[in-house]
Structure formats: C-alpha cells, structure tokens
C-alpha cells in the first residue's frame, strides 16, 4: 500500500475521474464497514462516500472491485454486483448491504475504513414508482436490501408503503435490519420458516391473504382491475421461485409487479451478453434482455420463469 508506484497510478486515475462529467467509474471512500447484526449471519454493511450518490436511484446497483488493496491480483477477476440499499444525497454516500457468500465477498469484507474501492455505477434501471396509491414490497431473505432505498424514496414521495418480508428465523430478520424498517413506521408483515417471528410459513401466503382481503374472494372483476391499477403496485426481490409466486399472485388480481432479477455478470454494462433474462413481449415472442443494463428490475408479467432456451 505504501508503494509509490501505486500512488502514482491512483493520481492519474483520479484525475481522469474528475475530468468527465458523466463518469461512471469512480472510487468510493469506505466510511463505515461493519457486521450487520450478528456476525454468524455473515451480513455486512458498507458505506461508501463518493460522487455516485448524486445520480443513483433505488433498484440500481454497483459493480465493486473486490481486491485485497495491499497486493494487486486478478483473482478474483470479476467485479461483484451489489444493490444500493440506501442513497444519501446530503452525505454523498451510498450504503451496500451484502452477505458474505464466497471468495469475492469474503475479500470485500476485509476492506477497511479509509480505503478506496473502485466502483462502476450506478448501473441498470431502477424501480419505477407509482404516482399515487400504495406500494407493497415483498422480500425474501436478503432480497430486502434493495427495497430499503425504494421504501425511502416512496415515503418521501408521499406514497403509502407496506412490507411483506419472509426469512429463515427471527435471528436473521433482526440482523438483516428489521429495526431500521420499523423505524420507517410502515405496516410490516413478517414470516419465518420456523415461526420464531411473525407467521410461520412463506411470505407469499401473507401476500395472498392481504390481496384477498383487499380485493375480495372474486378474482379479477373489472372493478378490482381498475382499483388495483390505480392503487397498488408490488415490488419484489428475493429467490427466483418466490418472485415467480409473487408475480402469479399479483397477476391473479391484476396488480402490477416489478421484480428485481439476479444473474451472473461479466461486464455489467450490457456488452458481453452474459446476464440475460428471458422475457415474452407483446407479440408473444421470446426475447432476451440484459439484467445489468435493461434490468435488474423487470415487469414480473413479462418474465419467462421456467424458460431454458
């Protein structure tokens, strides 16, 4: 780290970053990096300060370089995509919440305060916000992370927000930020697999209950259709099977649903076609969209969930 050669690289690098206005490759200064909740949950909270906060919006992500800063190495080679969990314009800060999953996030977890991380972003298209009415958020596990930024901006816009969140057990939900959600003062429906907090079972059961309560037992009357279009929009993030179930439920009630997809990424800018998601367009044709550039948020109704082509 004290090598003068590295310092020189950084200087020219920073210079170049300052030159261009629409610069998308920046450095984020690590200002907070800590465990989120209990260490055994392996969840981390990383706050980066930098120009990126100015242009970022909920649902977008960054591609972070994961390298031990003291030795330059190309193993791991690729950047890691991580969603924006919080965007703070006042502080010029973004918050990333992540789970230590494998080697890359393991190395990322070692970044210390004061270090600078190379980030590409903000990347992708974020969530689109309803103009009025209610926004229902449906999260599975760590799928909760990108929804926090969305909740914040929805609340700031005066929308009513409701959260459905399922996790393994109480310990997970508490570690993954339940308190921060409660502080937002919105209605929260929790479920856990073991019943240690909230209902026992799946988050989709709670969602279904609420949909039935709102629209009545009859499916898809014209009236319900109208009501749902005007009043409720669902945004979901979590395991693929969960998002598929959420989409199917919402479609039964003609509630529009946005899903945040995940896929292995190479370039993260739409150049390599590594991260495609299969959609069906209005003409009924199967098409590929890039999760990194066209997504990660798509309209649930358009996603072909069981496609293997």
């Amino acid at each position: 780290m004290n090598c003068p050669y590295n310092a020189c690289i950084r200087e020219t690098h920073e210079l170049r970053i300052r030159e261009g206005d629409g610069e998308m490759l920046t450095e984020g200064l690590v200002v907070v990096h800590e465990y989120l909740g209990e260490a055994e949950q392996r969840l981390r909270r990383l706050v980066l300060r930098g120009p990126i906060a100015k242009t970022a919006k909920a649902g977008q992500f960054v591609a972070v370089q994961v390298q031990d800063s003291s030795i330059s190495s190309f193993d791991p080679l690729l950047r890691r995509p991580i969603s924006l969990a919080e965007i703070s314009l006042d502080e010029d800060e973004i918050t990333l919440l992540y789970r230590i999953q494998g080697r890359g996030t393991e190395i990322l977890a070692r970044a210390r305060c004061g270090e600078r991380l190379s980030i590409m972003g903000p990347l992708g298209q974020g969530f689109s916000m309803p103009e009025a009415g209610e926004l229902w958020l449906v999260a599975g596990g760590i799928g909760i992370f990108p929804l926090y930024a969305l909740a914040q901006s929805a609340l700031a816009q005066g929308l009513t927000v409701r959260l459905f969140w399922g996790g393994e057990n109480q310990s997970f939900l508490v570690s993954a930020g339940l308190k921060a959600w409660q502080a937002l003062g919105l209605p929260i429906h929790l479920s856990t697999l073991d019943g240690s907090l909230g209902d026992i079972g799946l988050v989709t059961e709670q969602l279904q209950g609420r949909l039935l309560q709102t629209f009545g037992q009859t499916k898809l009357t014209d009236q319900a259709h109208q009501l749902s279009l005007n009043q409720i929009m669902v945004a979901t993030c979590g395991p693929k099977r969960m998002m598929q179930a959420v989409t199917e439920l919402c479609m039964n009630f003609a509630v529009p649903v946005q899903v945040s997809m995940e896929e292995r990424m190479g370039c993260a800018v739409g150049a390599c076609l590594g991260c495609v998601c299969t959609l069906i367009n209005k003409e009924g044709t199967l098409i590929h969209k890039k999760v990194c550039q066209d997504g990660p948020v798509f309209r649930g109704e358009e996603v072909v969930w069981d496609e293997s082509c």
Partner: protein, 306 residues
Amino acid sequence: MSPVDFTTMLAGMTLRNPVLTCSGTYGFGEEYVNYCPLEALGGITLKGITPLPRLGNSVPRLAETPSGLLNAVGLENPGLEEFLRSYLPKVRKMPTEVIANISGFSLEDYVQMANALQSDSGLAALEVNISCPNVKHGGMHFGTDPCSAEEVIAAVKATTDLPIIAKLSPNVTDIVGMARAAQRGGADALSLINTLLGMRIDIDQQRPLLANTFGGLSGPAIRPVAVRMVWQVADAVDLPIIGMGGITTWQDAVEFLLAGATAISIGTGNFVNPQAPLDILEGLKSYCQKHGRSTVRDLVGLAHKA
C-alpha cells in the same frame, strides 16, 4: 519527454494506436462510452454476427475461474439484417475504426455476410471468426481444420473488398498450420487467440456450472498460451497479428508486442477495468519513452531479435 508515435498500420487500415477491443466483450461499441471514449481507441471489434438472429445459450452463461472467465454465450446476436438496419448506421458515425466480426455454420453463411459488408459500409475490416467454441458445429470446424479454414477465408476474401482478419482458435495442436492456412486463403491479418475450451463443475449441485456444459476460457489465465501462440505465428508467418488473450495491464500489452503482435486487443480486461485501454495507452507511452523508442512500432517482435 519526447512524444511517442502510436500510429499503427494493419491490414490496410491506419489506426491511431495499436489498442483495440475484442469481439463479444465490447457489445456494438456504445456500452462503454461512459468509461472509455471511443476516440481514445485504435479501433473496436463488434460482437460476432450470424446470418440469422440467435438467442444463444441458456443461463448461467458465465463462470469465474482463477484469474479467468468461462463464457458460453452461444453467439447471441440480432442477425445480419437487423445488424444492417439498426447497428451499422450508428457504427458508421463512431470516432474510431470499427471491425465487424462474422461467424457461421457453413461456407454459405460466411459468404452471405461478407457479401453484405463491403468497404462502403463504413467498416474498417472484417474479422472472420472461425473459432467459436460455444455453439454446436459453430465455426469451430473451420477453425480446427486447415483446409476448411483456407477455404472459408478464400471465399470471404473473394466476396468483400474489406480487409480480412482471420480469427484463430487456440484449440488446435498446430497453431502455425492454421495461420499458414489463413494466409493461403488470403487473410490480411490474424487475430489470436480466441478462448480456450474449458468447463467447471458445481460440486454442491454435482453438475456442470454452465448451462452449456463447456465454455470458452478468457482473461489473464490464458495469457501465457496466447503469448506463446503469437510468438510462434510471428516467427513463421508474414502477416500482421492482433494479439489478444488476457491483456489487462500495459505490461501485458508490451509482452504481446514484443512477441510479434502489431496491435493488441482487450477483451475480458475491460470487465475488470473499463479504463484498461486508457491505462494501457499511458503505460505504453511511458515504456517507449523509458526505452528510447519514438514509435510503438519499434517494439513489434523485438523479443525475437534478442
């Protein structure tokens, strides 16, 4: 410091510098403009196209390996017609040299595309991919059999007035034999190397990690293989070489030039550092200055003379 002349002559093209980007890693030229201005590059190579549109392989298409990347995109592309309609008009206006990359499943496929892509298209050259490992019966057959390679290059050469760059597969025992075949076919330059065939297995699921089972390995992991092949071909064949395979830093680029590449191309390196081309250009300049070379052309093949 004295200026360094970067001008590079290659296959009838005059490039402002020897730094290009690889097919399949740089989309259709628009994706990286917020990271690396096109004006800075010697040229770009577009994603490989085929006569008909292709959806490509299922996901997962990518798997990371030690200092490398396996990909099995399966030549997803909009097809020739859509390329001509929607992409070519934009490409014409790009402030750098643009090389199209074509792939096919038969000789007729290649000829059809070469026919549609002539010098009035605004393209600078045609890179003929006879080496894609990710599609069944893809160009691979042409890329591993010298007779077929010669035949396809000759057919393309006879059809278009654009300079022809033959892109060779490293998945052969005799790379020099393939290079000679491409030369006999009339290639104006050679691109080497394409990806090395590989695979990974998910040990939890106990099945291949890529949906396509096999993929092409790229990135720093393959660089020594690529440098060796550039060296061997430079020794044996009198055609300019575009060296590629794992180039990520300026030191890597210098290695390829010294091995005999006239220009270098960056692929997977862009994913790691989207400003790799800019960093490499800066590094090349300092290297030339340090070694008293007024032109980067002086470096080409220098290690052979030692």
